[in-house]
Each structure stands twice: as structure tokens, then as C-alpha cells.
């Protein structure tokens, strides 16, 4: 119906005045991500200089091995946060998954082939319930998922307060698998699983309509609704996906620990949120990149590794140093990513880093039904 050539009513479309002075080649919108990545490099480099044995491929790979489950959960969390919500149930659903797995496999003698799909379904269902309750009753995600967090943790204790060791060969075998890599290094099944989830999520978030709808909802739910985007469906999907990821993280956790325990993954939701946010995603929604979450998790892992290599910190200094490193990191991230935009204030900043900088972007009023 539209014909490009003859529908031009005027000779040439008028261009808006050219933008301010030429900037470096780098797309400014990718700057925060690059800065984060760069800072990760610096941090890892600093560790290598400071500690013997730090600079090795295996130490780097250990970041993945030890944080695979966190990465999986954080990917789900990224989706939730981009849509402008939050999911506090991540850690407990992970724990519940380990518990159900262990209980059914060890105490009931069910086959893992049956149990694994079952727990994934369970995680997704918990997420689905969150999503439906949040959407249907228009409740705040914080409170709904907080209740979910209590519930999942509580269900763990109902199964057993004690931990259940897993000795089923299926699990022990998988947890023993190491895929060899050059220089006598290796990675575990979890790493492959986590990277698979990550890639899937990157595709989902950045190349599908669903993913972009997610960003639209995070930017302004009201607008997304008026734009005729499937808001309800997408929001429910987001929580379902997060529940699914949590369950998958639980499976990875089981491979990692070979046990089910109600106190597993305590506070993992905070770690996941922190990783997502450190990776450049805005808690207010609508901005961020799934790959940023990977970097966020790596940074989190590096901070921990640094402290373990340090090895002389007392318990309290450990906490203080974690806090300080996080602080330094976030401040640098802010300062560096902002440098080119400093010339412009509110509006210019909005223009340059609008996708990644919360402070200056206007906060949407969801209640506003415009006119």
C-alpha cells in the first residue's frame, strides 16, 4: 500500500541539524558496557599482578565454573529487571529445586530423567504464578516475589530440614565431567549449560519481538500498552522465564554440590540483582544488555577470588573490602562512562546515554493515561 518513491511529497526530506562535534568511533550507547568490560579486565589484571597463581586460564575458567548457577539465575533476573520488575524468589526457588531433586531421586528413587523436567516445570510454574498474580491483581513484584521467596524456602523445610546428599550415578557422573580445554584446563557441564542459556537469552532479548517488547515495557508500561504491544503476556512470560532459570540454576547447583538443602543459595537473589545491575542494567527497567549480566557475574566472582587469594582478611574485613571494591568499581563505571557526555547535561546526557543512564532519564508515570 505504501510506495516509497512516489509518496515523497517534497523533493528531499529535511535532515535535522547535524549533531554536536564528532565523537569517537565507538557508539556511545555501548560505552557503559565497554567500560564495564574494561574495568573487569583491569580488575583481573590487578589480581594477576598482586597474587601468584592468579593469572591463569584455570582461575579465569573457575569464575565460570563457580558462578554458572549464579549466571543462569541472573539471566532470568535480567529479563525481569529490564521489564521493570524484580524477582526475589530466585534463591529460594533454586534451593527448592535442589531439595525436590534430591528428595525424589534419593529418597523416592525416581529417575533423574523424569525428575529434571519435573523441577523445571515446577520452577516455571512458580514463576507463572508470580506473573499472573502481579499482572492480574496489578500488585508490586517486590511483594509478590517476596511471598514466593518465603514460600519456596518454607517448602524446602517441609521436605526436610536436613540436607540430602545425592549419590545417584547420573548426578555424580555429570558433575565429574570436565570438558578439556587447551593448557590443561577444563570446564564443567554447568558452564556449557550457563553459556547456552546466556546465548539463548541474548537472542531472545535482542532479536525477537518478545525481547524488544520487554524493553518497551521497562521504558514505559503505559506506552507499551497503548502501542498495542502484548504487555500482559510478556510480563507473565518474564516471571515464568525467571522461575525456569531459577530451577535450571537449581539443577546446576545440584551438579555443583551433589546435595539438596533448604539453606542452599541463601541470598542468591541479592547476588543476582547485584550482578545484573553492575552489568549496566537499570533497576528502573528498560535499559541494559544481557551480556552485561555476564560481565557483572564475572566481576562479582573476581571480587570474591581476589579476596580468597588475599587470604589474610578477617571475616569483617572481607565484607568491608567486598563493599569497597564494589564501590570503587561502580564509581569508576559512572565516571568513565559519563566522561564524553559530561558536556551535555540533562538532555544531552539523555541523548548520549539515554539507554543506559537512569538518573537523567525521565521516570515514566505509569498511571498517566496521557490526555
Amino acid at each position: 500500500m505504501r510506495n516509497e518513491t512516489d509518496s515523497r511529497f517534497f523533493a528531499a526530506p529535511r535532515a535535522l541539524p547535524a549533531r554536536a562535534p564528532a565523537r569517537p568511533r565507538l557508539d556511545p550507547r555501548h560505552l557503559p558496557f565497554m567500560v564495564t568490560l574494561g574495568l573487569f579486565g583491569v580488575m583481573f589484571g590487578a589480581g594477576s599482578v598482586a597474587f601468584d597463581g592468579f593469572f591463569s586460564l584455570q582461575v579465569f575458567l573457575n569464575l565460570f565454573i563457580d558462578n554458572a548457577f549464579l549466571l543462569i539465575a541472573a539471566v532470568g533476573m535480567t529479563f525481569v529487571i529490564i521489564s521493570g520488575g524484580i524477582d526475589l524468589s530466585v534463591g529460594s526457588v533454586t534451593a527448592l529445586t535442589t531439595m525436590v531433586l534430591a528428595h525424589l531421586v534419593e529418597n523416592r528413587g525416581w529417575s533423574p530423567v523424569l525428575v529434571i523436567p519435573l523441577v523445571l516445570l515446577m520452577g516455571a510454574t512458580i514463576g507463572l504464578i508470580h506473573g499472573v498474580v502481579i499482572q492480574y491483581f496489578s500488585l508490586q513484584p517486590f511483594i509478590v516475589t517476596l511471598a514466593g521467596m518465603f514460600l519456596a524456602r518454607g517448602l524446602c523445610y517441609l521436605i526436610s530440614v536436613d540436607s540430602i546428599a545425592i549419590s545417584h550415578p547420573f548426578f555424580t557422573d555429570i558433575s565429574a565431567i570436565r570438558y578439556p580445554l587447551p593448557f590443561e584446563t577444563s570446564v564443567s557441564v554447568n558452564v556449557v549449560m550457563a553459556l547456552g542459556v546466556l546465548l539463548g537469552a541474548v537472542y531472545l532479548a535482542h532479536s525477537t519481538r518478545l525481547g524488544r517488547t520487554l524493553y518497551a515495557i521497562g521504558g514505559s508500561e503505559q506506552s507499551a500498552l497503548l502501542m498495542g504491544l502484548p504487555v500482559a503476556r510478556t510480563k507473565i512470560f518474564v516471571y515464568t522465564f525467571s522461575g525456569f532459570c531459577s530451577a535450571l540454576a537449581g539443577i546446576a547447583f545440584t551438579f555443583y554440590m551433589l546435595s539438596g538443602y533448604g539453606l542452599h543459595a541463601q541470598g542468591m537473589e541479592m547476588d543476582a540483582i547485584a550482578a545484573v545491575v553492575v552489568g549496566g542494567t537499570l533497576l528502573t527497567g528498560g535499559a541494559g544488555h544481557v551480556l552485561g549480566t555476564l560481565v557483572g557475574v564475572l566481576i562479582y566472582g573476581t571480587i570474591q577470588t581476589l579476596i580468597m587469594f588475599e587470604g589474610s582478611l578477617s571475616s569483617w574485613w572481607t565484607k568491608i573490602v567486598i563493599g569497597l571494591l564494589l564501590l570503587v568499581f561502580c564509581l569508576l563505571q559512572k565516571v568513565l562512562a559519563r566522561a564524553p557526555a559530561r558536556q551535555g547535561s540533562t538532555r544531552a546526557a539523555r541523548q548520549d546515554t539515554g539507554q543506559t543512564h537512569p538518573v537523567s532519564s525521565p521516570i515514566e508515570q505509569t498511571a498517566q493515561v496521557g490526555g
Partner: protein, 298 residues
């Protein structure tokens, strides 16, 4: 000659007991000239596993750790074994099928502590009198739900009382090992059960100390109207016993440092070490408090 490097992964700093434990290990290491790589896991097993992995990467001589839970150590301990680093467990054991994954276990037995508390109670004269007249009503302040000491201390205590039909646990609730919660829960118990309560069994001294305050505020006399027995034997418990407000505390010794260092040295020297080393622990009834108090370090 290079000094021995010991990698030690502590559970966290969640209680006074734990802090004292850490301190003892650190001091002993300095004294013995052992280089200590210390890592705090903030109550998370995954952090302990990460720490052990980083010890392996750093090629320490010996790895020691206080496991958060018994289960789930198999994979990482196998890595340690592959790297030929001996592993010592402190404070509590792990359950792994391959027993060769760890060398020695140094620590206390939580179930035994529970048993001792119960045994003392059953043998305590005023309680026997009570039991002779009727039932003995016990309220229990549990530790953090799911935590090993909470589970085991409950188990040991109940094990002994199983054969004592007159002893009844009428209320049991978690006080999270803290004074504040202990006090809060005890307040609620007192409101709900009133004077029926004869005995308080607390999984650690801190909760007992909190509960003592609640009992006093309710106008009852702790140590008389309500008999109190708890575990850990920290300094505060002795103060309470001296004041006559606590009846008995079962020791759970955190001073594992010297013993651990000796063990480490033996291991590095290639000596044969015992598989299980039980720490010296006793039961302190009220009468012994004043005598024992000056010896308490923590």
C-alpha cells in the same frame, strides 16, 4: 625453609563462638609459624567450595575447613585429592562416599552436646523432684532452621528424653541463635504457656541469655522458676550462672587452633594422624561457674 601454607575456609562470623574459633586458629597459626590463608564463606557452602578451589589454585600445603553442611563436598574434594593436597575437617564432618577424600576430623559432636544437656537435666535434683510429682514441661529454643547444630542438638536432646515419659517438650521454636530472637520467642512462650514452663533448653547460650531477660520481665525467676540449660559455655553464660540465672551450660569448645596446627604439622611431616580427634569438652553446672569464669577467654 618455606613455611607451611594452610588454607582454611571458615563458615562465617555468624556467632561469638565462630569468632572465637577463628581467632584461636589465627593465633595458633602465628604462634606455630604457619602461613594461614583464611577465607570467610559468609555462611554459604558455594563460597566454601570456591575457596577450596582457590586454595588448590594457590597450591597450599594443607586445606582445612569447617563445613557448613555435611553434604555436597564430593566434587571439590576430589579435585583436592587430584592435586594431592591433604584435607582436614574441623568442627563437623562431611558425608562423602569416598572416605579417602579427607584425612582427619577434628571437632566436637553436636549430637553428643544435645545428649549431655538432656542427661544433666534428667539428673538435676530439683527436676527429679518435679518429675516425681508430675510432668516436666520443657520449651526449646532452636537454632537456625536447617543448620547443623540446630538439627543435631535437637536430635541428641530428644534421643535421651525418649525414654523419659515425664519429660515433655511443649513448645519448640527457632530463635536463630541470637539474643534478640531468643528473648522475643520466650516472651511469646511465656504469654502462651504462662507458669506451666519448667525448663528451658536453648541451643546456644545467647538465646538463653535473651530468654532470661524475658523470664525476668514476666516476673519469674530464671534458674529457679524456670530451669535453664544451654550449650556453648561462652563467657556470658558464666556471668548468668554466677548470678544464679542459668543452671547449666554444655561446653562446645571453639579453641581448636593449637590442636589443628599440631595436626597440620604432623600431616606435612608425613606422620600418621588419627582419623577422628574429639576436642576436650565438659559440662558446667551452676556451682562450677565462679571457679571456671576466670579461665574463660571468650
Amino acid at each position: 625453609k618455606d613455611s607451611i601454607v594452610l588454607g582454611f575456609s571458615q563458615v562465617g562470623a555468624e556467632s561469638e563462638w565462630r569468632t572465637a574459633n577463628t581467632q584461636s586458629i589465627k593465633e595458633a597459626a602465628t604462634q606455630e609459624g604457619i602461613t594461614l590463608k583464611f577465607s570467610d564463606a559468609q555462611q554459604k557452602q558455594e563460597n566454601q567450595i570456591k575457596a577450596i578451589r582457590s586454595f588448590i589454585a594457590q597450591r597450599v600445603n594443607v586445606i582445612a575447613f569447617s563445613p557448613v553442611v555435611e553434604t555436597g563436598w564430593e566434587p571439590v574434594l576430589r579435585e583436592a585429592k587430584a592435586a594431592r593436597i591433604p584435607v582436614i575437617l574441623t568442627d563437623r564432618a562431611v558425608s562423602v562416599k569416598d572416605e579417602s577424600l579427607w584425612l582427619s576430623f577434628l571437632g566436637s559432636d553436636f549430637v553428643e552436646e544435645g545428649r549431655r544437656a538432656a542427661k544433666w537435666l534428667v539428673g538435676y535434683a530439683p527436676i527429679q523432684e518435679l518429675a516425681a510429682k508430675g510432668e516436666v514441661n520443657i520449651v526449646e529454643l532452636q537454632g537456625t532452621v536447617g543448620s547443623a547444630p540446630a538439627i543435631d542438638r535437637k536430635k541428641g536432646f530428644e534421643e535421651v528424653l525418649k525414654d523419659q515419659p515425664k519429660f515433655k517438650i511443649i513448645r519448640s521454636q527457632t530463635g536463630d541463635f541470637t539474643r534478640a530472637k531468643g528473648k522475643e520467642v520466650m516472651e511469646a512462650f511465656l504469654k502462651a504457656e504462662g507458669k506451666k514452663i519448667n525448663v528451658l533448653y536453648a541451643h546456644n547460650d545467647d538465646m538463653a541469655i535473651g530468654a532470661i531477660q524475658a523470664i525476668e520481665e514476666a516476673g519469674l525467676k530464671p534458674g529457679k522458676d524456670v530451669i535453664i540449660v544451654s550449650i556453648d559455655a561462652v563467657k556470658g553464660a558464666f556471668e548468668a550462672m554466677i548470678a544464679g540465672k542459668l543452671n547449666c551450660t554444655v561446653e562446645c569448645n571453639p579453641q581448636l587452633g593449637p590442636q589443628l596446627m599440631r595436626l597440620v604439622k604432623d600431616v606435612v611431616a608425613g606422620k600418621q594422624v588419627p582419623r577422628r580427634i574429639v576436642t576436650q569438652e565438659s559440662v558446667f553446672p551452676q556451682e562450677s561457674a565462679a571457679r571456671e569464669f576466670p579461665n574463660r577467654k571468650y
